[in-house]
Symmetry: C2
Subunit: 105 residues, 2 copies
């Protein structure tokens, strides 16, 4: 790939989408499954690994936590990354529609 707006993985995109409001890890799992209509189920390893990576990137940050839960919130950089990804997805979808639309039918 190697380009300006590098692709986000589906897991990361849904994690960011899930954090419109502060939410804890397990809640992100559930919200992702809900948002995707049950299609995307984050594995524990994927989620908690990504939470660390995303904090290192500054796209999410801790937002306190009640009891044993650890909540996170999305940062401005995180929102920017999600918007950039949406733009990439739109372009990709558009290209796919144009080209695949011209196949046999």
């Amino acid at each position: 790939m190697a380009e300006s707006s590098s692709a986000l993985t589906e897991a990361v995109f849904y994690i960011l989408l899930s954090l419109g409001q502060p939410l804890h890890g397990y809640g992100i799992m559930q919200r992702t499954e809900e948002l995707s209509g049950g299609r995307v189920k984050l594995a524990a390893g994927t989620l908690y690994g990504a939470l660390t990576t995303l904090q290192d990137k500054g796209w999410i940050e801790p937002a306190g936590g009640e009891g044993r839960r650890k909540s996170y919130r999305i940062t401005p950089d995180g929102r920017a990354a999600a918007r950039a990804e949406l733009a990439r997805l739109r372009e990709l979808t558009h290209n796919g529609e144009t080209i695949i639309g011209g196949w046999t039918e």
Copy 2:
């Protein structure tokens, strides 16, 4: 992720889109860059690795080759995979628009 329609990488999606007509490896590189408006540039390792993987999956197949070029064509399974990916992209784009559209603004 772990789901019914597993995500294709951008590299693989563009390789499939490039093969509307039989084309050789290097041509796929160029066509991908062209189709993506210069944004996606396939690294050699990515391309030739993916060509092997995609043949193993039965999504592309050899289509002869003039001289030192090796051409490939997409198979019906390959087309199905591209269409499934397009559906996934549409859903993802739609979800992204809905949710991100509700942010700050």
